[in-house]
């Protein structure tokens, strides 16, 4: 069999994290009761008109600049005309002729090394509503809450060659969008969606094969499976001497197969033309400059800074910056406790362990940075044992309790006064006359027995060192009696 190469380009839709829709003042909040976030504009009522949300342009510019794009400083919206009930006007306001950003690139990391994936364009558009299929009545129901939620569509060049590269590219985009604060990019909630354009060709061939477009990919795993499935399907066709048809296919992840979304009613002729309701957008040099200056530190820069400023390893810096949310939490803790390395250890250890154990989304991790910082300080000052500190942190992680108060109330604070130590020691010695005799008789082995008993009795309120010291002193005292 011949050797084939897979050629993949992606169209990624990212829902922008604005408070309101792209062309009206309706909320973009996810999960409201059907049609409760709608108005004449986003339900396509006669006579209603769109007015562009400034934030959408800002977010698109932020994304474009981060992805090294050129900006079309004069850009327009176009209407894409097609009939479908989730699209209330039966045209989608999008950009075809003059998209806001074009010709950029992002760098992805794969097992084979780093690679640039070129961005063909990024454009702004409105999302469609949601269709729910009602099996009882054999009909569909339309909810326009999502209609008009702002999207940017990021169109890559056909630069990817494997599902590994595709996933790396998507993770890169997701991380970038989250760092920029322009989208939360949740695949499950549909705030990040990818359509895969895929073709195969013989290794060494210069020209591209016929591509298909795959839709309905709801997770990274589904994307990886769909890519494998489509690659195999196309190779099989070619091997059998048949041809690949340029078409849109819908992936069914349960069946792990795809089917063509063909209909004679789908003319696939969108009759794009400039939307007369929306005047062109002028993006000044000043505006671009302002956005450039306000761009947050992106992951790559953060990673380098963690290594130089905090003296963390490249590995730790990588892990800690995977999520911008977590990295900001970490930075706060590091700043408050003044010990970035210790803070990093806590994040690399306890924070990530608990996140994993509890099956929590890392973006949902939430506690007051001061609480962890206080805890770290107490450990440093030997006011709480490392063991107890971990237990207390679990409470911080789960309920965001105040560790100082909690440790005090639960008697977990290491006691400085020797009174309690001595009293406890006398009590244990009285309760264990046998071992005491052995100890006084010089049997070193029972020393450990007494230390253990003490530690248990004191529940970490004293450090092992203090216990040992007190025990040595008491043995000396008794010997000298």
């Amino acid at each position: 069999m011949k050797q084939y190469e897979t050629v993949i380009g992606l169209e990624v839709h990212v829902e922008l994290a604005t408070k309101t829709k792209i062309f009206c003042g309706c909320s973009t909040e996810f999960g409201g009761a059907p049609n409760t976030h709608t108005c004449p504009v986003c339900t396509g009522m006669p006579g209603s008109l769109p007015v562009l949300n400034r934030k959408v342009v800002e977010f698109a510019l932020k994304a474009g600049i981060a992805a090294n794009c050129q900006i079309n400083q004069y850009c327009k919206f176009d209407r894409k005309n097609y009939f479908y009930p989730d699209n209330p006007q039966n045209y989608q306001i999008s950009q075809l002729y003059l998209p806001i950003c074009h010709d950029g690139w992002v760098e992805i990391e794969t097992s084979a090394g780093n690679k640039k994936v070129r961005i063909h364009e990024m454009h702004m558009e409105e999302d469609a509503g949601k269709l729910i299929h009602d099996e009882w009545e054999d009909c569909s129901l339309v909810d326009y809450n999502r209609s008009g939620v702002p999207l940017i569509e990021i169109v890559s060049e056909p630069d990817m060659r494997s599902s590994e590269e595709v996933i790396a590219y998507l993770e890169k985009l997701r991380c970038m969008m989250q760092y920029l604060g322009v989208s939360d990019c949740k695949l499950q909630e549909g705030s990040m969606r990818a359509d895969v354009n895929l073709s195969v060709r013989e290794v060494g061939s210069e020209s591209f094969g016929t591509r298909t477009e795959m839709k309905n990919l709801n997770s990274f795993k589904a994307i990886a499976r769909a890519i494998e499935g489509e690659r195999e399907r196309q190779i099989e066709l070619i091997e059998e001497g048949r041809t690949v048809i340029q078409e849109t296919r819908r992936w069914d992840d349960n069946k792990e197969s795809s089917h063509a979304m063909r209909s004679k009613e789908d003319a696939k002729d969108y009759r794009y033309f400039p939307d007369p309701d929306l005047p062109p957008i002028h993006i000044s040099d000043e505006w671009i400059q302002q956005i450039r200056e306000s761009q947050p530190e992106l992951r790559e820069e953060k990673q380098l800074r963690y290594q130089s400023e905090y003296e963390l390893s490249a590995y730790d810096a990588g892990i800690l910056t995977e999520s911008r949310h977590l990295s900001l939490l970490f930075e706060e803790v590091a700043k408050l406790c003044g010990n970035p390395k210790k803070a990093a250890n806590w994040f690399m250890g306890e924070v990530l362990r608990l996140t994993k154990d509890k099956g929590l989304d890392v973006e949902k991790v939430s506690f007051a940075p001061k609480h962890l910082s206080d805890l770290i300080s107490m450990v440093e000052k030997k006011e709480v044992s490392a063991q107890n500190a971990k237990k207390v942190f679990e409470k911080v992680f789960e309920e965001d309790i105040e560790p100082v108060v909690y440790i005090e109330e639960h008697g977990l604070k290491i006691v400085e006064d020797t009174g309690l130590l001595n009293d406890t020691l006398q009590k244990i010695m009285d309760e264990n006359p046998g071992p005491l005799e052995e100890l006084l008789g010089g049997k070193e082995k029972v020393f450990g027995f007494f230390v253990g008993k003490m530690m248990r009795e004191l529940k970490g309120k004293a450090s092992p060192d203090a216990v040992r010291e007190a025990l040595v002193k008491e043995v000396e005292r008794r010997k000298n009696l």
């Binding site: 004449p40 339900t43 396509g44 009522m45 006669p46 006579g47 209603s48 008109l49 769109p50 007015v51 562009l52 209407r79 005309n81 009939f83 009930p85 209330p88 006007q89 039966n90 045209y91 339309v142 209909s263 009613e265 002729d269 009759r271 794009y272 033309f273 007369p276 309701d277 929306l278 005047p279």
Partner: protein, 491 residues
Amino acid sequence: MELETMTALELAAKIKQRQIHVVDGVKAVFDQIESKEGTVHAYLDLYKKEAYARAKEVEKGIADGTYTGSLAGVPIAIKDNICIKGKKTTCASRILENFVPQYNAEVIDRLEKAGMIIIGKTNMDEFAMGSTTETSAYGVTRNPWNTEHVPGGSSGGSCAAVAAGETFMALGSDTGGSIRQPSSFCGVTGIKPTYGTVSRYGLVAYASSLDQIGPVGKNVADCAALLEVIAGHDPKDSTSLDRQDLDFSKSLEDKKLLGMKFGVPKEFLAKGLEPEVRDSFMNVLKTLTEQGAIVEFFSVETMEYMIPAYYIIASAEASSNLERFDGVKYGYRAAEYEGLHDMYKKTRTEAFGEEVKRRIMLGSFVLSSGYYDAYYLKALRTKALIKKEFDQAFEKYDVILAPAAPYTAPKIGESLKDPLAMYLGDIYTVAVNLCGLPGITVPCGMDKAGMPIGIQMIGDCFAEKKILRAAAAYEAVRGAFPTPEKGGKKA
């Protein structure tokens, strides 16, 4: 003086002086409707009860200083493509036969704030597509001057209602001449404002880049006052302009024509213009010259390309604007269908009229793959050249003069047989829309059959004041224009 023969400003003044009650104006209008509506059929819906109730409210509001505007208490009719909350808005189409908007058009809010009284919705060509008001799904409107004739269109209902005294004033909309041409046919005055001067929010779109709402009234002063009420920036319409020069009534104080420069495109007087209309037009030129105005002829080389460019652009936008009428969210849905696409097709085929379908099909075609550049882009380039020619003309002239239509109102039933011939009748009006210019039609004569003729005065963008001044000055020299004989000629 009979109430219904007063102008709107006269009525409002008498109301302010407490010589007339608001309710009297409303009653005069409904009396007139009672006697004429049976033959004219200018209205699709009337709000008699609400109008009387509102009259009381407005009377109080005028007394307590809530309503201080120059048109407070004046009854007004609204073209049925403008949304009024809770009132059927049909665009004279079956597809919106039961559509009740839950929001007001911006102009409706402005009329209400001005203390005006909305008395009903007027008939029109379906979705404003037509030049005769015959494409309405709800029957033709007859010209009050002679009921065998059309009132023009698409704002035929609004213009006929004003002419018949069935309202003091009305709102129309103008996409390619839909206010100016029926104003001419009905012997009333109508303005198409500079694009963006009046908010389009709540105006059901025909061709978004060309549509403007405008006033229809008995004279220039009434129209200027009404334009002042409805004009102004609206943040709900992205194409709405923030203009500061909206004190239109003030511009009428100086009625001198002396030294004003008028340009006349000589191509407009060539073939196709009916001799009687031409004579009337030439008479106006003479009058203006006599008053000290400078009238010059100049050449508009893009004239032949105006209608093609207009119909391509308007149809393209219409095909997209009318996609939303699909039986899903509002309006008509076919009774029986098999599946989604069949529902779309049956709904639209059953409920759109012939002219609407014709334009939707043309518009879909000129935007379709393979033809976009040759038709649509070519039309947009042509539009740029037309605009350039007008820009150059306005460097020389204050006002451009043109007939409003090549002929007077045709007889009912004559126009729809040949759509292309009907389109050609828009020759003098469409460039104004393509270029975003303001234009006013003022009655200027009568043909032998007794049908009115209007003249069109066109200004540069934002130059409403110049055309209003010129129109008012001409109107003053012209003298009172007759009104149609009572009841009109029976058909």
